[in-house]
């Protein structure tokens, strides 16, 4: 039968693992945003690099995150690259979400009026300055909401890392299960914690979004 006290006893262990979940989310979000922005800038920078980046982005978006994680985890060592599972996990999450963020950034950049680029050019601003000082700040305003949604989505993808034995919350719950031969309790506990966490972070992201929009107003 369902052992409620046992479930409660798993909670502190799981909460400890929440630190990893949150760290992974933060680092991978930043990585995904940087990669995604670079992809989109590269996509715009020329005809052939445009086709190439388009394909890379589409490839990332057309394959499962789970398979991408396996790919990096099992294939890199075959070529002599051995990295900690945590690093591979963070990288895989960053790469996967960069495909989606690139598309978000594309829409954001497309929404900037052509006159802004012309003004920058007529002042003699270089490519890098135009990108960082004119495009980026104006783009952020347009992409704040969808970008926030993808960060929440990324949080919800962190338990995939359990499959390469990263000890975030799901990995920890599975460990408890295999040690005690009781899976339902830690699973339900991790389910509830994750639901609460996801809803909380979604709210927090919405709040940050509003702050960002307020500070980028006008």
């Amino acid at each position: 039968m369902f052992d409620f006290p046992f479930m409660l006893s798993t909670v502190p262990v799981l909460l400890k693992a929440m630190g990893t979940t949150i760290w992974v989310t933060l680092v991978a979000s930043i990585g995904a945003a940087l990669l995604g922005f670079s992809f989109e800038i590269a996509r715009r920078s020329g005809r052939y690099s445009g086709y190439a980046m388009r394909f890379v982005i589409d490839f990332i978006r057309s394959t499962p995150i789970l398979v991408q994680i396996y790919f990096f985890y099992f294939v890199l060592p075959q070529y002599g690259v051995t990295l900690p599972a945590l690093v591979i996990g963070v990288f895989a999450l960053s790469l996967y979400y960069s495909g989606y963020l690139a598309e978000v950034f594309k829409a954001g950049i497309d929404s900037i009026p052509a006159g802004q680029f012309e003004a920058a050019k007529s002042l003699g601003l270089g490519r890098l300055d135009t990108t960082l000082l004119i495009v980026l700040p104006q783009m952020l305003r347009a992409v704040a909401a969808p970008m926030g949604n993808y960060f929440v989505s990324l949080l919800k993808a962190t338990p995939y890392l359990a499959v390469i034995s990263v000890h975030e919350m799901l990995g920890t719950a599975l460990d408890i299960g295999s040690e005690t031969f009781r899976y339902p309790e830690p699973m339900i506990a991790v389910g509830i914690i994750f639901l609460v966490l996801a809803l909380t972070i979604a709210q927090a992201v919405r709040w940050l979004e509003l702050r960002l929009l307020a500070s980028l107003k006008r």
Partner: protein, 218 residues
């Protein structure tokens, strides 16, 4: 084992991947329509109840939902086959997202359409079925295509609960041949072949819809 052999083993799991996808759609599409419409048309406690159900299914990470239901349902006296659990969880998760597309599409309709329907003496249900839904469905199609891609990619998860889909086959090939590079390359390629046409389709539908919308303003 040649790369072609590897691919043929992987594709021997295609039937399971397809079965999970189709069964999930059988759960997800009705769920999306019913709950999206409920959220749109009802008020008060009924709307709250619909929102809670939707939020449960779309705010929890799908991999966690899968494990929770796989391990915990037997405790509630329900012994479902892995296939049924997978279809239920993947379907309702994607259906949760779909319901938001349904609601948003209904909300974005001009209120005049509803008023005209009611003014003609149609009932609320008739207005919904004959006037509002047909128009909203068109706006939902691109989102539904994108969700279908998410679903197909999400089916890779069923390999974790012993179902022998494409991912499962690739994993066993990788273990058997000690050549994870071919196995996972082949697997990425296989999902890409399935999902890429959908990615292209989704994008072109999106573009066509945007053009149609702009045209409507003129």
């Amino acid at each position: 084992m040649s790369f072609l052999d590897v691919l043929s083993v992987i594709w021997s799991g295609f039937g399971v991947t397809a079965e999970v996808t189709l069964l999930s759609l059988a759960y997800g599409v009705p769920f999306a329509l019913i709950f999206g419409i409920l959220q749109f048309t009802t008020q008060g406690w009924c709307r709250h109840a619909a929102t809670i159900v939707i939020e449960f299914w779309r705010s929890s990470p799908v991999i966690i939902l899968l494990f929770v239901f796989y391990y915990a349902l037997p405790l509630a006296g329900l012994t479902l086959q892995a296939m049924s659990v997978a279809a239920l969880v993947l379907g309702l998760n994607i259906g949760g997202y779909g319901s938001q597309a349904v609601r948003a599409a209904l909300q974005s309709l001009d209120r005049g359409q509803y008023e005209a329907g009611m003014a003609m003496g149609l009932t609320r249900i008739q207005t919904l079925m004959l006037i509002e839904l047909p128009q909203a469905l068109k706006a939902m199609v691109p989102t539904f295509v994108n969700l279908l891609i998410q679903l197909v990619k999400g089916t890779a998860l069923v390999s974790l609960i012993t179902l022998a889909d494409m991912t499962y086959k690739a994993k066993s090939v990788a273990q058997m041949t000690f050549d994870p590079a071919s196995a996972y390359m082949g697997l990425l390629l296989s999902y890409f072949i399935i999902c890429y046409p959908l990615t292209i389709l989704g994008r072109s539908l999106e573009r066509r819809l945007a053009v149609a919308k702009e045209g409507g303003h003129v």
